[in-house]
Symmetry: C2
């Protein structure tokens, strides 16, 4: 029987080979920690499932560094403050930050941001009103500067970032082609305003893209890499702006694996620009992004899509779904 | 015995396999053509050897299109007007344009530009005061916007474009690392102001680049692609600007061959930008570029480097040297 002071958490039991499976993680009981000066005790309510931590589940990872075996699995979350030894946070406050896959987290106050429960469902702080939405906003408005007349291809268009990027690109006046996996994602992306969708598993990917892009793509937001990247690079319009912000196609392929990102001929022929993007470069724009996203959400002009699994114990399966199940919208775990 | 009205020219006899050889071309005699209205007869004095036409010496070339067998070999030249049926051109004028590998060319006046013999040796219109110099100027000042504090890596740094780019980057206040082939090129590049040079054939290329780039490269001007591109991409500084304007490493590799141009991980990690560049996009800046280059040349602040071979019959060998002999500066053929 668990003590009232027990904290369930997932630790990394072994480094996954390929798509992570349940046996790569171990659910353990540890005592709930006590916050020190400047720290806050948070009760986890929601966890965000994101592809990037997969890169750290590799003993040879370079950047970000490997997650040690036995360490708490990393992941952002939203929760309620239960105890605070930091100014500005009091029991009952909703907060978001790096909580890890656990029921209770003690974290420095400086690593938390407050969540306004009046702005929308609190878990939005992990999706459309959090890193995913802000990333999409910066991609569309800062990195790619999407404008009227653009034809924007969004990779993983039904995913957490893609689903917001599709809608923001539409709002900016662009024509949008969403890259999807399966009919549910296709339906979502079209409902969100994309003119058309192309399935990344299609055996006629090149022809499908050619049909969807008669004038070529002027913008390509790519978090996938690999075969998809190659295929879209063959359909660029002149002076196209390609922004690469991930390469999920290789995240399960082992240390150092990364897709080649195209052939130089297409890049020169189209005088295209391919830029690497990390949202952390754009912190100065976060308040503006968040204000814009909140307004759009409140006015009903932005849809918030979520795929939710229940219980902390569902986290490994929810994490794996990112790579093999094409979830629609932000993949979340409701911890309580 | 050749008639006074005979025009010697090289035609493409067969499509080269690998680096072109003499037997790929045939020297034939044809009558000197007579200019029609709007055309000019030019006596070729200098021919420019450039790598790009190699891509057209392939039956499967897509863009630019294949050069037909039996067709005049393409190439820019400088010559004297011998007869004119076009306003603005008179016998005795020096002109530059697409003359082809032949002693006499009849070309539309609209395809010629006048060469001022007072601005420097007339053949400069093919190099530092022509496409090579203008390309280098646009690369340094428009595409990469080189500025003080930059560390600029120039591929093929002793070549026609590279040799000018090295000097312009120095004048812009940058630190320059030149990629060279062999000791003669290394010496030239250092004399031209590069802080260091790295030999692209080195068996310790990665280590050589690391030593030459302790802070990484903030700009990379790449006309080579392939193994060199990969190696430099591993040494980028954050927010580096990479401009790709050719891929000579693959020009002899057959139709459709083109090097992969790096791995997406480095691009995202460094938030680097990789842009394809064609100088034709920048025609509006050509007068400014030419004025700047002329002034620098006149003031002795810009060195004009040339490798010259004599006689039209030397053209095939001079062309092959671009790919296998690491010539210093602009490779030219003095036709008369």
């Amino acid at each position: 029987m668990r003590a009232m002071t027990a904290n369930r958490r997932f630790v990394l039991k072994r480094y996954p080979s390929g798509v992570p499976v349940a046996a790569d993680f171990e659910l353990v009981d540890v005592p709930i920690a006590t916050p020190a000066e400047g720290e806050v005790l948070v009760e986890t309510h929601w966890l965000s499932m994101d592809p990037l931590p997969r890169l750290r589940m590799d003993p040879n990872a370079k950047f970000p560094p490997p997650l040690p075996l036995g360490a708490l699995v990393v992941g952002r979350g939203v929760g309620l403050v239960r105890a605070s030894r930091a100014d500005g946070f009091a029991p009952g406050d909703w907060v978001a930050g790096e909580l890890g896959w656990q029921e209770h987290a003690v974290v420095p106050a400086t690593a938390l941001r407050r969540v306004d429960p009046g702005a929308g469902p609190v878990q939005s702080a992990l999706g459309v009103l959090g890193p995913s939405g802000i990333t999409a906003w910066c991609l569309v408005n800062v990195a790619a500067r999407v404008r009227e007349g653009d034809t924007v291809v969004v990779a993983a268009a039904a995913g957490s970032v893609g689903s917001v990027a599709v809608q923001l690109a539409k709002l900016a006046g662009a024509r949008v082609v969403g890259i999807v996996g399966g009919p549910r994602q296709a339906e979502f992306v079209r409902d969100a305003g994309a003119e058309s969708s192309v399935d990344h598993r299609s055996t006629s990917l090149a022809a499908d893209l050619a049909a969807a892009l008669p004038q070529g793509a002027s913008v390509f937001l790519d978090s996938v890499g690999g075969r998809l990247h190659e295929a879209v690079m063959e359909r660029l319009a002149e002076h196209a702006r390609v922004v690469a912000f991930g390469f999920i196609s290789a995240y399960n392929a082992g240390a150092g694996a990364q897709p080649e990102y195209g052939r130089i001929y297409e890049l020169i022929r189209r005088r295209a620009t391919l830029s690497g993007f990390l949202v952390g470069d754009h912190v100065a724009r976060f308040p503006e992004a968040l204000a814009a996203l909140s307004t759009l959400l409140r006015e009903g002009r932005l849809r918030n899509a979520e795929s939710v699994s229940d219980g902390l114990e569902s986290a490994p399966a929810a994490f794996a779904r990112l790579f093999d199940a094409d979830p629609v919208g932000k993949q979340l775990v409701r911890v309580r």
